[in-house]
Subunit: 479 residues, 2 copies
């Protein structure tokens, strides 16, 4: 167990160091032997499982079926869609030997699965009756990272990737937006992150996509994190892989495809959206333990308290609360308080001899001051409400934080000031070269064109050319 | 949809061809671009998910936590345990290039994860308080196959791999047997396969294990399938990776480790243990659809029946039955009957105008003759019992089949006869060379020393040397 023996670097002093220390010391991940890869430890993996459960439920509920496509893809397949291969080539891991000999054709470890899914869809789709074809897979992917960062950019990560084929553009666009809605809801309702759903500018599109949508999240250092994306491919992949079907009237048409993914990166987002100088702050809906019970006492007194805590644990579990008793006798209460704060457990219940005598427990919230005495008998009834309150308070806090650090700006100096300390909403010409010059000057990039931004016209904040999107674009420094 | 337009090769005529046709035509899997790899299609993947749900539940219930270890392992790590690398080297896929350049050290795509888990456990374990360390992961692994077979031997497959570390041999052996018990129960209670749990002879042990346990299943062609294994590693991996801990009395000791796995191969086992000339026969507990409802009629009549079927579907779902209505209007009832028989749905409900007039539906079981009329109103109450009966009947049938094709034999000619058409239980010296000679003569290999076989002593069935295990060994031709 890596615990808070030493203090954690303050996020105010060095956000990046704080993050790197925290993910290791909270027991979320560990460094793996191959540089850039990670081990997801049980505490981190449990958060991923809770996110998966909900995401998988919504994916199935909206008519998608899970499948599994192979890890290894012939290198030549990637070349069939020109933009796609150009985008992914620098990041590929390549298998050249297998079964003791050199392969005739090198195999790519999937960086994403559009090409192999496209190949299979071409086999499976022949009539309009086969459409829409709504698939999803849970898988690992490999994209070689030169500057890896635990959970945010690792050479291997876990994700789900939805892949669908449709008869026409309308149906495919509805699907692209449906996936984005699911991501938006999950981020807000589970991770307590008030993400901004929007469309990517042309320069930020997925390699091979006609349109890319994203949810953008604000971290506590006010940088943006792309936390999920959804792509409308048009007929690009259908043409590259020959996904054709006979329409109801007997003509031959190309399918329109989509893909969309959310990954373990979301865990990094949760850490950076809610964490503080004491460590993680986990939203109850995704917390492995929502409540930790800490018996406080010595000797036989301690054993007695552990047994009362155990009985309480069962009653909390019976109402669906994920709780845990810290019954280690070789650690002090203070040590345990720090450790569970570091690990972000929303509610702590202290159970000492005086509490026991009064038939109560002392509640301490991970955020907020002070202690509160609660009747033991009432806890199974009271705690679900307190957890819901905690969940809601995280979302409110994150929303206020986001809004107070996002500014509409109309001139270049205000833009520079805004992106130095937050997000800027500005009109933009949409030219990729102009976006690159903005980045060179400020390190900020266009994050998205928010879906719900009001219509607005005018000139580009940087170059003064006519603004292209009919609304403001969000700019920020990003992960 | 690949359906039974043509008849399926009879399993009596050519079991192997029957299997290869069936897995494709039932929509379980498809061939992927890289030879030896497969796509698991939604119908097959759903079976895997149902198996996963139950297996994951039991793994967690027994105190294990899920984690995720990386796909890529430095080649040198595999070399630290000599037997392990010798066993896996011929099957490795090797990444030599990544991120656009040649790697300083080649990386192996994990064929199993003992080495990387060992490396991490060495970091995580320091005191007896850290033990037992009970981990599991759900993952893909790659073992290059020269003679691939869908679901049974593919170059990539999905599995769970448990990895645990313990303070002493006793605790590790209890764990090894616990995992085997879980596999035995799941195979029997979910896949309806009455597997024989037993220990592998030395020549059949996992590379690097001190003891290997297995569950062996009899297929309809009477060959054996190893359907799950559990290994006690002793201190082998702890010494290779330096997994040491301080005991309560302050000494330094090596941990004892275990590993155990069950894979998508189990799906192949279910197909071959229950399938028949019409196609799959799925045990209800793992069937994506337990009941299929087929409206039979034309025009507006058909629409009316589809609507009644839809209402019935909701009522069945409400009692937890996985049901589906086949509402395709361009397919005949006969076509649908054949297709759902091919796909192994346990119960079919036909809903025609006459049924409707009588307020009933016609039940047809996937196995067994004849039709039965059941009151529509009673179906939610009646069907769960019928599904349980169906599940039980598969297990009874498979048990009878296994027992009637397993013979204790005491002389070589009876042995040869027995393994030509089933399994033989025979005394065996335990010598690996002798087992190889038996294989050369009969194609049969020692499958396991059944845990519950009675004590028996005597001489080896083949070489006449003293039999080594104190009980009979099961021999069979195997997948």
């Amino acid at each position: 167990m890596d615990v808070a023996d030493r203090g954690l670097t303050s996020p105010e002093v060095d956000f990046s160091a704080w993050y790197n220390e925290l993910v290791l010391r909270a027991g979320l991940v560990d460094r793996a032997p191959v540089k850039g890869t990670m081990v997801i430890r049980p505490y981190g993996y449990r958060i991923w499982e809770l996110l998966q459960d909900e995401l998988d439920r919504r994916i199935k509920e909206t008519g998608h079926q899970n499948a599994y496509f192979p890890l290894l893809i012939p290198q030549s397949h990637l070349h069939r869609e020109a933009e796609h291969v150009a985008g992914f080539s620098p990041e590929l891991a390549v298998v050249t030997h297998a079964g003791g000999s050199e392969l005739a054709e090198p195999l790519v470890v999937r960086p994403t699965s559009e090409t192999v899914v496209g190949e299979m869809m071409a086999k499976w789709v022949s009539s309009y009756r086969d459409l829409p074809l709504l698939l999803n897979q849970w898988a690992n992917v490999v994209r070689w990272e030169m500057r890896p960062r635990m959970l945010l950019r690792t050479s291997e990560f876990l994700w789900q990737e939805g892949h669908t084929a449709h008869a026409d553009a309308e149906s495919a666009m509805r699907e692209t937006r449906l996936a984005l809605d699911i991501y938006t809801d999950i981020a807000r309702d589970f991770a307590a992150i008030p993400v901004i759903p929007g469309e990517k500018t042309p320069g930020e599109r997925f390699a091979g996509a006609r349109r890319t949508f994203t949810i953008e999240a604000m971290m506590r250092d006010r940088r943006a994190l792309q936390a999920g994306t959804s792509h409308y491919m048009g007929e690009n992949f259908a043409r590259a892989f020959d996904i054709r079907y006979t329409t109801e009237s007997g003509e031959l048409g190309h399918a329109h495809t989509t893909s969309w993914g959310m990954s373990t990166r979301m865990l990094g987002g949760m850490i950076m959206a809610h964490g503080d100088e004491k460590g993680l702050v986990l939203p109850p809906k995704l917390a492995p333990y929502q409540v930790v019970i800490i018996p406080i006492g010595r000797g036989t007194r301690f054993d007695e308290l552990v047994s009362v805590a155990g009985a309480l644990l069962e009653r909390l579990r019976a109402v669906g609360i994920r709780a845990r008793v810290d019954e280690r006798s070789h650690r002090s209460p203070g040590y345990k308080f720090h450790e569970w704060e570091l690990r972000g457990v929303p509610l702590r219940l202290e159970l000492g001899p005086r509490d026991l005598a009064e038939g109560s427990a002392t509640l301490v919230r991970r955020l907020g001051k002070g202690k509160e005495s609660l009747r033991l008998a009432a806890l199974p009834e009271v705690l679900p409400g307190l957890l819901a309150e905690f969940q809601e308070s995280l979302l409110v806090r994150a929303t206020e934080f986001r809004d107070s650090h996002t500014r509409p700006v109309s001139d270049w100096s205000a833009f520079q000031e805004a992106v130095a300390s937050g997000w800027a909403a500005a009109l933009h010409c949409g030219d990729t070269g102009c976006a690159e010059r903005i980045k060179a000057a400020t390190a900020a990039t266009p994050r998205c064109i928010p879906l719900d931004a009001p219509a607005e016209s005018g000139d580009c904040i940087y170059c003064g050319q006519h603004a292209d999107f009919g609304k403001r674009v969000l700019f920020a420094r990003a992960y």
